[in-house]
Each structure stands twice: as C-alpha cells, then as structure tokens.
Assembly symmetry: D2
Homo-oligomer: 181 residues x 4
Amino acid sequence: MAEERLTFRATRWFNTEDPPTPESLAGKVVALHAFQMLCPGCVSHGLPQARRIASTFSAEHVAVVGLHTVFEHHEVMTPDALEVFIHEYGWAFPIGVDEPSSTGHIPRTMAAYMMQGTPSLLLFDAGGRLRWHQFGRPDDMAVGAQIAGLLAEGVDGKAGHATDDAAKLGCDAEGCPVPPR
Amino acid sequence: MAEERLTFRATRWFNTEDPPTPESLAGKVVALHAFQMLCPGCVSHGLPQARRIASTFSAEHVAVVGLHTVFEHHEVMTPDALEVFIHEYGWAFPIGVDEPSSTGHIPRTMAAYMMQGTPSLLLFDAGGRLRWHQFGRPDDMAVGAQIAGLLAEGVDGKAGHATDDAAKLGCDAEGCPVPPR
Amino acid sequence: MAEERLTFRATRWFNTEDPPTPESLAGKVVALHAFQMLCPGCVSHGLPQARRIASTFSAEHVAVVGLHTVFEHHEVMTPDALEVFIHEYGWAFPIGVDEPSSTGHIPRTMAAYMMQGTPSLLLFDAGGRLRWHQFGRPDDMAVGAQIAGLLAEGVDGKAGHATDDAAKLGCDAEGCPVPPR
Amino acid sequence: MAEERLTFRATRWFNTEDPPTPESLAGKVVALHAFQMLCPGCVSHGLPQARRIASTFSAEHVAVVGLHTVFEHHEVMTPDALEVFIHEYGWAFPIGVDEPSSTGHIPRTMAAYMMQGTPSLLLFDAGGRLRWHQFGRPDDMAVGAQIAGLLAEGVDGKAGHATDDAAKLGCDAEGCPVPPR
C-alpha cells in the first residue's frame, strides 16, 4: 500500500545547509517534486513549475522540495552529475537524492509512494498528509488552486470549508485528480 | 471611491440566454474579465486565461463573466463586431457589453471599479465582495491560488483559515497583490 | 485558372504614402500575406511571421505586403476597423484592403489567386512570378529558406542553381509545398 | 587563426554506423551544432533547432552534425552520459564527441573554430568553407535563409547570384552575422 504521510529518504542534499525533514516541515504545505535530470518532461515542465511554486507562495507557508528519483541509467545520473545540473540550470530550492533501494532499481521514496514515473508532483497538507499525487504535466492553474486549497485548511486539515473545497476540485478519499478539461 | 461589490451594467449579452446578475451569482466566486476585442494583451493572455479558469473550476462554484469594456475606438469595437470576434475565437463563457457612459468614453462598470485598462481581472468572493483586482497579466498559478483561496472561505468570507490564507498571499484590506517574484 | 503573376487590387492602403504596385516592386522578392483581422490564426501566427520576414530580410531586396482579404463578416471588418487593428498591434509594413467583388463575397485578389482561406502566404520571385502559395501555418525555417532561395535566383529566375534548389525543397511546376516533416 | 574549413575530430559517434567525415560530406551544406548536454540553451533552443534543420531540408543536400563540445564539468558530461541524453531526448542526427585536448579544457574542434561557447551553430557551404558562425540563439527564419542561400550556390560557391545573396544577408569575407532586428 502506498505511503500517505510525508516522508522521504535522501542520501545527499543540495541547496540547503539544513536538510528538510518531515518534522521541520510540519505546519507547512509541502510540494514534493520528483524528477530525473535527463527526463525531458522534468526539464521543460516539472522543474520550472516547481520553481514557480516557490516564487508564487511564501516560503513561510509552502515548502518546495525536489527529489532526484533515479530509476534508470543510474550510472550517469549520479549525485555529482546532479550537482552540475542544478548549478547550470540554477534550481534554487532544496533537492535531495532519493535513497537507492538495496533490492531493485526504484529508489526508496519513489517506491514508497508508488510513483508512476517522472515528473511527479505530490502535495502534502500542513498536517503531513498526502493530498494530491500527479504524474505528468498538471497545469499551473490547477496546481495553484490545490496548494491554496491546502493552505486554507490549516494544520488540522478539516477547518473551515476544506471538505467542500476538495469536492469542488473533484478530490475523493483516494486523492485529487486534475479537473477534467 | 471605487466600487467594492459585485455589480455590472451590460447592454447586451452573448453566450447566454439567462444573463448573469449579482443576485444570480450569489454564493459563487466570480471571475470578471474586462477586455477589448482589439487589445493584443487581452487576445493573447487575458481571454485564454479566462477560458482556463472556466475549464479548471466547476461552473457550480466559480462563474466566469466577460465584459467588453470599450474605452477607445468605440466606432469599430461595436457589439456586432464583438459578436463576430466571440464566434471566430470560440469564447464560450457569458460576455456582456459594458454600458456606455453618457458623459465620457469610459463605460460604466469599468469606471465604477476604476479599472486601469484592459485586460483586467477582478475576483469576487461568494459574498459578492471584490477581493482581487489586477490590471495586466497575472500568471496562472497566482490566479488559481486566489480563486481557490476564495472558494475555501465560503459565503461568509470568514470561515476557517480564510483570513490567514489571505495573509499568506499578501492580501490586505484593500486587495490582494500578485506575490512578488 | 489561378493568377500566377504579382498583381493586387486594393481600395485603400495603410502604413505607406506610396502604395506598392507590381511595377514598383519589380526586382524584389515579394511576400504577400493575406489575412483577416478577426482570424485567430492570422493574429497569432501569420501576421507575426510577416513581421519577422520584414525584420529578417533587407527591405531593399524583400518587400512584405499585407492584404486584408475579407471574405466573411464584411460589415464589421471594415477598413476603419482595420485601421484600429493595425494601430493597436503595431503592424508596420504596408497593408492594403483587397477590393470587394461586385458579384460575390470573396474579394478580387483573393479570388484571382484562388486562396483557400486566411492566413495565406504567397511568395513571388524578383520577376513577379508566384513561386510559393501556402494556406495555414508554414514554419519560419521553411519560409526563410524559400525566400532566400528566391533571392539567390535574381531577376531572371533561372540563374545559378535555382532549378536545383527548388527541387531540393520539393517544388514543382505547380508550386512549392512545405517539405514534409 | 580560426579554422575556416570543415573539419572535426571526434572520439566516438552516436546515431550513425558510418561516421561523417569532411570527405563524406563533400558536396553537401553542413550544419554543425556544438552543444553540451547540461547547457540549458542547448537543450531548449539549439538542439531542437538542429532537429528542425534536419526535418526541413533534404538529407541529400543538407547534413546536420551534432558535436558534444564539453569544456566544463568533463567528469559528468561523459560519452556514456551523452548516450543516455541522446536516447532520452530522441535526437536522431549523428552526434560526435569532440576530442579532448591534451593541454586544456577546451576540446579540439571547439578550439580550432574558436567557438565562444555553447550552443554554437556553424554552417559550411558545399565546398566545405565556413560561412556562418553563431554563438547563442539565432532564430529559425535566419537559419533557414542562410542554409538556402548556401544551397543556391552549389559546390563552387560562386555560381549564380551567390555573391549578391550573401550581401543581401549582410555577410562579408569574415562571415555572415545574423541580420539586425
């Protein structure tokens, strides 16, 4: 069964001297962006979108965390290569290296959430619960709406009109799909 | 002093047999998009964004209303010309023709809200209060966030963490600016 | 049979005090862009491409001529409306109003070349012969190549490797299609 | 003094079983695209443009050759990493690995042509002479025009109106700059 709480295992971090942990992120909405440095859709869509999340929302309330979830070509998408990639593109949010599995090619965090591939965007509410899980290219308006919906809930995840909001965007107990166009 | 409640005066409507009124929209978040058919920024940015609002959010909870606020070249941007423009571009949401002023070139709704020009996007909460007023080209993520923030408030505009949310996006009693990038 | 020589009939001109004629354009490669001001593909693709032709090639050797070929909604796409459209978008090359037909809705120049619709781009060599006729959205690289190919021919249209060049781009006696991708 | 003839030294080739040589390319116009796999402008602009060159012009007359000119971060932009990059992005034209220098960080072909960085696009006429050398992001229309101009010259580089053409695009004996906009 897929993990439903905020958790990640990283062997190395970039862009931060104080690596994020589920505990240090408690109380914030978290946007976890899983990517591979040689994945075209990550470079053209996912990572620029993660950057826009970081520039649109206050860092005090929304944390953007990148995770390098290498599940193929491990020999060339190394942490050292990732470091150069981050430098050349100027990605500025904290980025961790997903911990390799001891038994397969899918790294641990990626496996825990049963991600379908890269890019994947996972949104967690301020209480650390997974609320949105998207593989592919969600559009900016839907992402902005989902994050603001979670911000409106606060830490307990039930305040105000939160339940109603979720319904308005088509979420159910299993997650929140992108509204059909 | 600028109007702060949902109101508009239109002399003709397109794309609807049942023209929207402040009363018929009560309980919904309203996105009012003011444009001119020969304004390049409206054609390339504002109107496509209004269309994306309509496709991202449920019509049950968010109403998109276009308003043709002609303040120059009135002789060629006529309602008949607008009708052709709407048909050729396939804009599908209700669009009204802002009522001309009897004393100046700025039409009545545009003047009431002291809009700075076109395109302008105004967001009203479910209680009919003006909460966001943007001239120019706000980006999709910020627009999606603002609308979802208003959705989370509900009709009374104070439920849940609404006040906190607004603060997170940099709003104050006067309105909500686009977060600085 | 479709016209194969440079010719156009315009009732009014904008952006020029000295309206172009086939005679005044002799010796230049001519890019004739036919559009309607309320045609979405003309506004987003055709007219910006015509502008790029004008900025890429020297006006001494390549002339860009716009032609407002209204074949529908004549009552709102009037010359006066066109004038505002040109002003608002800042199109800077000479633009003529295709002469209305006395017997149908297709204006004279559009009918003479049997254009399929708007946007259409017609390229004429320096000798005034029609060499490329495209309805729709040809890409910039192909357009740049076609124009340069015509420039290389010179006035007689047969110099150098012209015939070979045409073949390289897939032209035949009937015209030059965009190379398949 | 910078090299002015078609020449390249590559230690490894991808996408071809028959590596191109100056001899095998004789008689064709050659577009040599120099890039680094972790250079953002190469990924977003240069390589897609090289792909469009290959799809716009006939392979019989225009050869597109990619060259991985690594001048920084050699340890991660290895040939093995390049192979994965090529596979993931689906670049289909022949790509060589520029031969490392024994004395500095700039590889041999890059040094020979005194390239200013990546992306760089070099165009050679059918006679193997360097005719256009651009660092950065030339636009498609100018690139299409330059290539077609060279195609029109033929092998001897002097046929027809070639000299005139070059003048029309602002070339001189030293090379051909992008026309000013």
